[in-house]
Symmetry: C2
Subunit: 330 residues, 2 copies
């Protein structure tokens, strides 16, 4: 397939706002691009789309590999669309080594969901420090909102840093767990459990119904040890089966209760304001480092200086200052 001519700014904006899926996908690819020319266009597109964002419920879903995230999203997503929502899923595809993604892989894992016309699934690569969450996953979710999707799921693997990033993008954070609480708690970072607004023990079917209930009890006990959240919604522990659908409706009702609480109390809007400032600051730091490390004098001098630092010939502080002065001179 030959590479199409790049659309102009208006084509991106109008395409996304019209809900055109091809333009939606291309706009997300644009904000993920690291090319300088793409970056500037991406910023203009994002500025134009901003007024059309915000009208969705943003849900982060995490859990260790093997917990059944994709199958869960496949089943839960059916519930979401059955309630009249348009659903966008920004999902990690572990089968994909590059950002091109294996859409077929995701389609299989999520069952019929990806084929539903009310659903848009965007797989991402799992490479990189953030376990599939790229720096611009948040921009991707905003573009989906501008395209008319009013329920956004951002899926992440339970590895730590990516959960912190996703927590700053979403209104609610759902932690998916396996039956068998003892081992589980050790495999999870405590910080991730603390970040969750709702815990769901998955695979509560067949012989696992009883272990799932045990896990539910153990986690419910553990949750009492944490201080209450700012939104005052107690962190509930539910069970569900992505196979039989048991517990999915209950989960939907809980999320609806949560949503109404945080929306009415103004918590959600205030949280979103803080999140925007958080991301601006993060992106400022990213920008500065990008400019610094791309600077010709830095590129030339830094490896030499770091070699001296490595061998202990130069103190780290003076090496840092020398590079800073080089950067500011030019």
């Amino acid at each position: 397939m030959s590479r199409k001519k790049r659309p102009d700014k208006e084509a991106y904006i109008e395409g996304v706002l019209a809900g055109d899926r091809v333009m939606l996908s291309r706009a997300i690819t644009l904000v993920e691009s690291k090319l300088q020319a793409d970056r500037e266009l991406a910023e203009e597109v994002m500025d134009a789309l901003m007024p059309h964002t915000g009208k969705s419920f943003r849900l982060g879903i995490t859990g260790v590999p093997g917990v059944g995230k994709s199958t869960f999203i496949g089943r839960f997503g059916k519930e979401v669309v059955s309630k009249g929502h348009k659903l966008a899923v920004l999902a990690i595809d572990p089968s994909s080594p590059s950002s091109r993604g294996s859409i077929l892989g995701d389609k299989t894992r999520m069952g019929a969901l990806a084929a539903d016309p009310r659903v848009y699934v965007r797989p991402s690569a799992t490479g990189g420090a953030l376990g599939g969450i790229s720096a611009n996953t948040r921009e991707g979710s905003l573009i989906c909102e501008a395209a008319g999707f009013d329920f956004i799921i951002i899926e992440t693997v339970g590895v730590g840093q990516s959960e912190v990033a996703v927590r700053h993008m979403v209104d609610a954070f759902l932690l998916l767990l396996l039956p068998g609480a003892g081992d589980e708690l050790q495999g999870l970072k405590k910080g991730i459990v603390e970040m969750a607004d709702i815990l769901v023990v998955n695979k509560a079917d067949g012989q696992s119904v009883s272990p799932a209930r045990e896990a539910q009890r153990a986690y419910s006990q553990a949750m009492k040890l944490f201080p209450p959240k700012l939104h005052n919604f107690p962190t509930k522990v539910l069970t569900c089966s992505s196979l039989t659908g048991d517990g999915i409706e209950r989960l939907w009702n809980e999320l609806t209760d949560y949503w109404q609480l945080v929306y009415k109390s103004g918590y959600m809007e205030e949280e979103r304001r803080s999140q925007r400032v958080h991301w601006a600051k993060t992106q400022i730091t990213d920008f500065i480092e990008l400019y610094f490390y791309a600077h010709p004098s830095i590129k030339e001098e830094m490896p030499k200086l770091l070699q001296k630092v490595r061998e202990g010939e130069v103190a780290t502080l003076s090496a840092a200052r020398k590079l800073m002065e080089l950067f500011l001179q030019n």
Copy 2:
């Protein structure tokens, strides 16, 4: 007490190299200073001291508040000096609200240790993001080495980020634990347990001897779940009593074995090389941000722009770029 005239570069260097405790303390204060004039002098002093650093064993000690870190260091430090070492302790003093520190408080907590002429204790404030570990705690430890101390202890509270920072400063990381393993494991971040080279269950005396042994068994089991470390020294779990001294000699022997292994295998030297590069990069990032946020145009424009970001009027990406351009223009 009136503030003394600031010594010149040579006075700092000669004083530290001569092991003069007053100049040692003032040199550490100098590298902790945020004043521009002090920063440059600090860098020159560090450059001159670098060739005299490195001849020590650097031990990080962490544990949750209440685990008895200071009492442990008081007892363990006695063992260190009894083996002929000169010991410097860079310790957190929770009783100190400012960087001036409450030396009396530390002296009490560490018993006779701080009064020993072979020991230098430097308390730090607990304020700030890194729980008492300042950006320049590492420089402080290097200055102690240049002053002839060949065993460095860096104490930190078990809160997360500071442990990661200290892990990058030391040759070995010791995690102090309380008897009563179950509750303990939940209170600790898994990442901290993973970083430890040796675990010590403290307070193994009186009625706690048996719970301490239980905790030892539980942790030993848990340790088997972690992959082996690069240095191939198995993460042992010991017990000790800072009160009776039981287990202190055993700990000393384990640390000596560890030290010989990492020294002979070349692991330690390679690790220290990586650590130097790590700190140079960290300080470069700190420097860039410092310059950026201190820039007059940024100071003026950033609050206005962040307000627009907060209200969703400007996309985060274009706000970040606008600020970057402002910074580079001037």
